[in-house]
Amino acid sequence: MRSGGSPMASADAAITARGLHKRYGRHVALASLDLVVEPGQVVGLLGPNGAGKTTTVKILTGLVRPTGGTAELFGVPVADPPARSRLGYLPEHFRFPEWLTGLELLRFHARLAGRDPRRDADWLHELLALVGLDGRGDERIRGYSKGMTQRLGLAQALVGAPDLVLLDEPTSAMDPLGRREIRELIRTLARDGVAVLLNSHLLSEVELVCDHVVVIDRGTVLRSGTLDEVRSASLEVRIELERVDQRARDLVAGYGRIIATDDHEILLGTDDPDVVPRLAADLVQSGARVRALVPLRRSLEDAFVGLVRKEES
């Protein structure tokens, strides 16, 4: 996955979006968004409310027309219906015809995806079992709980055996057990070479299942890369000295911003993950007596909050 700047997509990239722009009246939902997702990658799309996540997903599914930029799925512009033949999509807010049974809904979507539901009868049952709806396929959707409907939505997204799956908040109505099952399912998909773009508010979930992350806010990409790259994007380093004096503080401040300090410790915030060895050498050279230099491992949530706050300030 590459993003930001001008991404170079390989010929078979699942998603290639360049300079996506979307304006609703005066409101700019997407300023200029670049995104490339390769087969087999599980990419988490993160951002605060109104950042442009759902708009991005809707442009990629052809539901929303961008006011600028281009978007392609497997090299075909999203506006062309064939671009969506290898796509599975679980929308954030969706409703299925309640008078259908779960199995009937899957048959309908199988037809739309160009499959023959009669020949695929076994596959549809397999799919129901895969999302935890084994034996419930003949019940009307009217009687499904929220969690069950979401599971059916996931089965619907997978019914065409897609090579790219876009999941918009796929576990918002599920219990922890359900979430765990869905994570397993996403990992299995990725192992089979399916590209997954996951849009979720649950950062812990993204952390558990995604190998790449794109953080967006106000319609632009703030940071993207592997999970580790993004997590270390706004690093904190705890510096323990025998005594913190003005000279040490000035020196450390040259490497980033000082978050907190007392007589023995300085907490440094920086964007540069390679800062630690250089800082150590400089401190020793300046005569400071270094007791410890600890890069603090941050959760995705910390990194996310750091990135968005920095952008806001």
Binding site: P81, A83, F94, A113, G114
Partner: protein, 280 residues
């Protein structure tokens, strides 16, 4: 069969709605009532032993019965089409469907076809039933009921196209009210034109013709009703230079048919164009 999945689903949807089931029950009750009423009235007129009056009564009652059938079918068409697009988008039913490799034009066209099949199926069944009852009681034989059904089908297609077009922008209620209002205005204009014909008032005739251009539903009905009357009654009505608000005394003109086909096609094309440009 994997063809036309949207048409198949839309037809099932139309039939599964409670209102349609209730509509069918009301229609069945209507047929019983029609048979009873027709029988009673006809036997009373029959005692008067005037053959012309007999034929006229049978023709009038049958056309009135079919007028109600056509009115119910028009209501069904307006009801089905006016909630077919915006409501589906707002409720989130369409998101997963339109993300499939299916063009929005195809989706709309398939839905339109489903509604045409449902409403025309309803009209055909009811027309055949009403005429069979009239034929059974009074040996009533209309001029050409199949032609009438084709013209009514065209009227329904026009209403469905308009309903779909308005529903690409407006909610079910607004779209339904707008479409039904135009349907009503066309009916009123039809009466104005009829009176204008009889009074030879050019302004009134022009109002009627102009309105038929904006909404040809009533002109189509009057054309269709020509084929539903018995030949002897038609000859008598035309000789008297008459007609009435429920039945016309002339077949639909070729230009009316051509205009209506073009009208329905254009409205549907505009609806598809609007839907293609709409963010969902």
């Amino acid at each position: 069969m994997t063809a036309l999945p949207i048409t198949r689903l839309s037809m099932r949807e139309a039939v599964s709605r409670r209102l349609v089931v209730v509509g069918l029950a009301i229609s069945a009750a209507f047929l019983v009532l029609f048979a009873l009423g027709f029988g009673a009235l006809y036997s009373r007129v029959a005692t008067e032993d005037d053959l012309t009056e007999l034929a006229f009564a049978a023709s009038m009652i049958t056309v009135l019965g079919l007028y109600i059938v056509r009115f119910l079918a028009a209501l069904l068409a307006i009801f089905l089409s006016s909630s077919a697009v915006a409501t589906e988008i707002d409720s989130g039913v369409l998101h997963a469907v339109l993300a499939r490799p299916l063009s929005r034009t195809s989706w709309l066209g398939q839905r339109w076809l489903a509604f045409v099949l449902v409403t025309v199926g309803y009209v055909s069944l009811m027309t055949v039933a009403v005429i069979a009852i009239a034929n059974g009681i009074a040996e009533y034989a209309p001029l050409d009921p199949w032609r009438a059904i084709v013209v009514i089908a065209l009227e329904l297609a026009v209403l469905l196209s308009l309903g779909l077009l308005t529903s690409t922008t407006w909610s079910a209620v607004t779209s339904g009210v707008v479409t039904f209002s135009l349907f009503g205005v066309a009916w009123l204009a039809g009466i104005i034109e009829l009176i204008g014909d009889q009074l030879r008032n050019e302004t009134m005739q022009l109002i009627g013709i102009g309105t038929s251009l904006v909404m040809p539903s009533d002109a189509l009905w009057r054309g269709a009703s020509f084929y539903l009357q018995s030949p002897s009654v038609l000859v008598a009505t035309r000789a008297a230079g008459g007609g009435n608000p429920f039945a016309g005394s002339a077949p639909p003109t070729t230009s009316l048919i051509a205009w209506s086909v073009a009208y329905a096609t254009c409205l549907l094309a505009i609806a598809a164009w609007r839907l293609r440009r709409r963010d969902i």
